[in-house]
């Protein structure tokens, strides 16, 4: 600090201080001294009282020691006799959701590949199935409720190779070649029920194949009770038109093969609910009921794909528009869970 710079202000302060004449009143000083002395005496008395008091001397012997012993005994008792078990479930982290395990029953029906002249018919094994990409075929499937057609093989026209393969469980469009041909659709039908279960779609869109024979085999569980919805085991052979076997034999891949899901076995009679509509029938998946459920007026064709025990996809063609509905089985009741048109691919995954 520059003393000269602040000398004017500091000189003022010192001048005022020197001129100050604050008189110290000794009487006041003595009064405060007496006050302090009184206070000191009080402090002394309190100290002496604390030191001489019976409580101060014997408080530990009277309370402290027994309390310590009691605490020790309690601690020993707690460690030896008390078994506090904490359930592991309370603290274990929640296990991650396991992916659904597919059993053989749940797997789609194996369909043999169409036989070719030059090559033996291909059959998908499990590994191939797992690796199969669930791509939707472009072919639209029309279901018909004629059991005769499904069981009776269709004679191929100008067939040079026989192609047997799997059908997709939920296929929308199958593209094998540049040309898309609408195949014939077959629907498996119970003898007693009108449940369209099997969809038969063949990829006859391939290049220039005039005649290919597709053998579709689908196993369905046997009927257990009266109320059980059971699609029958059907075998359908579809005869595509205007197909050339030579080209199809080279371009058909496992990924393009349609796969058909196995129908599930139900032990009790399902009840199909659509909003406030409840249909109590084991043939609820027939065309008529599905029309009610999905509010379709005149469905051209309906096809049911069994995804699992608790899920079914229904394909409805109406006025040239294909709609897909997912049915969830909740407490033995089939309920439409989604009304929107959706892609099968997302559902299957």
């Amino acid at each position: 600090m520059n003393k000269n710079y602040f000398s004017d202000i500091t000189d003022l302060f010192f001048k005022v201080k020197n001129e100050e004449n604050i008189q110290i009143d000794e009487s006041e000083k003595a009064k405060i001294k007496n006050i302090l002395q009184t206070r000191i005496n009080e402090i002394k008395n309190v100290k002496e009282h604390k030191q001489d008091s019976f409580w101060n001397k014997w408080r530990y012997q009277l309370i402290g020691a027994p309390a310590s012993l009691l605490a020790l005994v309690l601690a020993l008792y707690a460690t030896t006799n008390l078994n506090v078990s904490i359930p592991k479930e309370d603290f274990s982290p929640t296990p991650p959701a396991k992916p659904p395990v597919l059993t053989d029953f749940d797997r789609p029906l194996v369909k043999t590949a169409p036989k070719l002249e030059t090559k033996p018919p291909r059959t998908l094994n499990k590994i191939q199935e797992n690796e199969t990409d669930f791509k939707l075929p472009k072919t639209k499937y029309n279901t018909t409720a004629t059991s005769q057609e499904t069981q009776a093989p269709v004679e191929p026209e100008n067939t040079k190779s026989k192609d047997t393969r799997e059908k997709p469980a939920t296929s929308q469009e199958t593209t094998v070649g540049p040309e898309t041909v609408k195949p014939r659709n077959t629907v498996s039908q119970n003898t007693q029920k009108d449940i369209p279960v099997i969809m038969d779609g063949t990829d006859t869109t391939s290049q220039k194949t005039t005649d290919t024979t597709t053998t579709n085999t689908q196993k369905e569980p046997a009927t257990s009770q009266e109320t059980t919805v059971e699609p029958e085991e059907t075998t359908s052979t579809v005869k595509p038109e205007n197909t050339v076997s030579e080209s199809t034999s080279t371009k058909i891949t496992t990924s393009s093969l349609p796969i058909i899901k196995k129908p599930t076995e139900t032990s009790t009679s399902p009840i199909y609910i659509h909003k406030d509509k409840t249909i109590k029938s084991q043939s609820a998946f027939n065309k008529e009921n599905l029309a009610k459920l999905t509010s379709s007026k005149t469905p051209d064709s309906t096809t049911v794909y069994y995804i699992s025990d608790n899920q079914v996809i229904v394909e409805i063609d109406e006025d040239g528009i294909t709609k897909w509905y997912l049915f969830d089985k909740i407490k033995d009741n089939w309920t439409i869970s989604k009304y929107k048109k959706f892609r099968t691919k997302t559902v299957v995954k």
């Binding site: 600090m1 710079y5 602040f6 004017d8 202000i9 500091t10 003022l12 302060f13 010192f14 001048k15 005022v16 201080k17 020197n18 001129e19 100050e20 604050i22 110290i24 009143d25 006041e28 000083k29 009064k31 405060i32 001294k33 006050i35 302090l36 002395q37 206070r39 000191i40 402090i43 002394k44």
Partner: protein
């Protein structure tokens, strides 16, 4: 600031007073005048208030001497701190009761003054009062402790609860600010005319 020998003897006296409260009276005798003057200035010359505040300061010191920790500062710094807090409390009470001690102190000083006593010192006192009114409270307190009480920056820092470097900066800035409030020679000439 006392030297090391004085500080050491003071430390021993404090340690003794902690054990024997009677020894506190030695500390009281030693620092009464300093604390009295400080409080007297702060109260604007109000003797009754000064008496109460000084007694309260020493009673507080006696009651809490067990908590006093020696840090190398004089015991007076601790007493100043207690007195400073008591004065602040008193000011707060005075503000609530619309009691303005500064103005009263001015009047008292003016009453006791004759025309002949209006010397340079009295003019200086008026100037200081005018400057102090324009400063903030913490700035006024720093200047009081620095120039009226003659305390070092270390002691002021202990009393104000600030760091030593911060006190140094504050002293410099406050002096610079106070210097700006000083009337210039031109102002003095105009006032004389």
């Amino acid at each position: 600031m006392p030297n090391n020998t004085e500080l050491e003897s003071e430390r021993r006296l404090i340690e003794t007073a902690k054990v024997d409260p009677e020894k506190f009276m030695d500390l009281y005798t030693k620092y009464y005048d300093q604390i009295y003057r400080y409080v007297y200035r702060r109260t604007g010359g109000n003797k009754d208030e000064t008496h109460d505040l000084v007694s309260q300061t020493f009673i507080d010191a006696l009651s809490h001497i067990q908590s006093f920790k020696w840090q190398g500062y004089p015991f007076s710094s601790w007493l100043y701190k207690i007195a400073h807090n008591n004065v602040i409390k008193w000011y707060r009470k005075a503000e609530k009761s619309n009691y303005v001690p500064i103005e009263e102190a001015k009047n008292v000083s003016d009453k006791n003054r004759d025309q002949q006593e209006l010397t340079d010192a009295s003019l200086a006192k008026d100037q200081i009062n005018a400057i102090m009114e324009k400063l903030e409270e913490d700035e006024r307190e720093i200047l009081r402790l620095k120039f009226f009480e003659g305390l070092s920056n270390i002691e002021i820092a202990e009393i104000m609860g600030l760091s030593i470097s911060n006190i140094g900066v504050k002293v410099f800035r406050t002096l610079k600010k106070a210097k700006g409030f000083l009337p210039t020679k031109h102002d003095l000439k105009q006032s004389n005319e």
